[in-house]
Point group: C2
Chain length 274, copies 2
DNA sequence: TTGCTCCTCACGTCACGTGAGGTGGC
DNA sequence: TTGCTCCTCACGTCACGTGAGGTGGC
């Protein structure tokens, strides 16, 4: 009592297109229980309808086929639910990004941006505790949050306190290829042993042009554009990572009070105050 | 005072990857103001940063490049805003679909679905007023809403009233190819002249298996699966479009009171009551 | 000379969609 | 015989990403 149906009937029962069903067969995600040897006709069992509908639901949520496969092949309910939750969290993140993007579109399309102050500064060498890794552009927020959490946890466990605001280095490939080395650091004067992902770091002195960004990170590109423009106008750009200092981080009561220093490397001759 | 920068510098100022910038050049969405004749180096003007950042924002919202181009090339602020709003509406729709999908995932993954009653029925020929068109599966909700709105407007203008619940026919290609003919109709006894997209229609008598779906349209696939299964078990399927009758439409105070009749064509010998 | 930044192909990715051309059973 | 449903290639789509292999100026 598990009748077989043709691909067309199965399509109507599952809301999956015939092309999609053939594709799922080809990649062995959902295989017909029987294929006619002479005609090649695919025959599906009606008991496959549930699985097929689940696939369609997951695809509606833009879950990649490989992840759908993982969910379907999960050995138990536990791990299956975990896979689903992981995807929902991912969607939630994307949703938040979308909302901040929409919110800041108006800002972007408004004419006339106020010119913002640029300061030239020689930054001394800094000792600190750092976490570094290869980070994808879109994951930066989550990665940094986790990194600074870990760093501060290690600091407080060691009974040490930060000697300055949190900071991070972003290397060129991070921007130019959408993924690259990022180093999150907290300045400390004490010597600390490596723990977990954290390790001591020594940052060399450097000359930079600095602009302060006020507001949420979603609008940071505005400051990058403005600061990069100033550096280009003066023709004083120098190689090296871009550095950010989080003077007032996202822990603040409202976003608009967040303050981030963006430091763009420049040639040392420009070490004057504008 | 509009300095030129290399693609690497421009990448950092705009958060666009070098590969993306080269792609935008190739498709002429964002062209460098100058290309070095001997080396092929692209040189961008810093005044292009704003446009580039706008492109990135739109792409974050998954706006297709051609639509981004349309927005950027819009002759005036008016039409530009309209293009943006159209996209935001589209996103809003998708968001709603996502939410209903998430909500009904639990339902889907629960074991054991109650068996639901199937009735076999001979439907008489019906006269009506109809709107028909080629509809994409994902646009069905919006299309039907608009169609029935138009149909009821024409009816009330003509001083006529429906002779039965709203209904629609969905032809095989609609399911099997993800886009196909849909006919939305309202039964009427009066003769009405075609107006706008509406036209009189005459539906032939047909034999069907009927299952009543209770709840939102997002879960209709469950009923299709259950009804299709019954038809396949009996081996009584017949060619022809699937028909839905909207006994209680989405106008109701809460979704769970919505009632939809799904009518699956069967061979006429089965015209008995179960 | 070594590094660095940039370049151009050619091909890959993902999840199907789009025809073209053909078969088998009522 | 005509229609209908199904089949298999081969190629297209979209927005880039992935190397491979190479160039030019400090």
């Amino acid at each position: 009592v598990d009748p077989l149906v043709t691909i067309g009937e199965f399509s109507k029962m599952t809301y999956l297109s015939v092309k999609a069903l053939r594709h799922y067969h080809e990649v062995r995600l959902l295989e017909p229980v029987q294929v006619d040897a002479s005609s090649g006709y695919r025959l599906y069992a009606v008991s496959q309808v549930g699985t097929a509908q689940a696939i369609r639901r997951f695809r509606e949520l833009d879950m990649p086929l490989e992840q759908v496969r993982a969910v379907l092949e999960a050995p138990d309910v536990e791990s299956r639910n975990q896979a689903i939750l992981a995807h929902l969290e991912h969607m939630q993140q994307q949703l938040e990004r979308t909302q901040t993007t929409v919110a800041s579109l108006q800002e972007l399309l408004r004419e006339g941006h106020a010119t913002r102050a640029v300061e030239y500064r020689s930054i001394d060498a800094v000792r600190g505790l750092a976490v570094s890794g290869s980070v994808r552009f879109d994951d930066t927020g989550a990665w940094c949050t986790a990194a600074f959490e870990e760093l501060h946890a290690v600091l407080s466990t060691a009974g040490s306190t930060p000697a300055g605001p949190d900071g991070a280095l972003y290397f060129d490939e991070f921007f130019e290829e959408g993924e690259g080395r990022v180093i999150a650091f907290v300045p400390v004067t004490d010597e600390l042993a490596p723990t977990g992902r954290t390790a001591p770091i020594h940052l060399a002195a450097t000359d930079v042009a600095v602009m302060i960004h006020t507001g949420p990170f979603a609008d940071l590109d505005q400051t990058y554009g403005a600061l990069g423009t100033v550096v280009a106008e003066r023709g004083i750009g120098a190689p090296g990572p871009i550095r950010e200092h989080y003077l007032v981080g996202p822990g603040a009561p409202d976003e608009s009070s967040e303050r981030t220093e963006v430091c763009w490397p420049v040639i040392s001759a420009g070490a004057t105050v504008s």
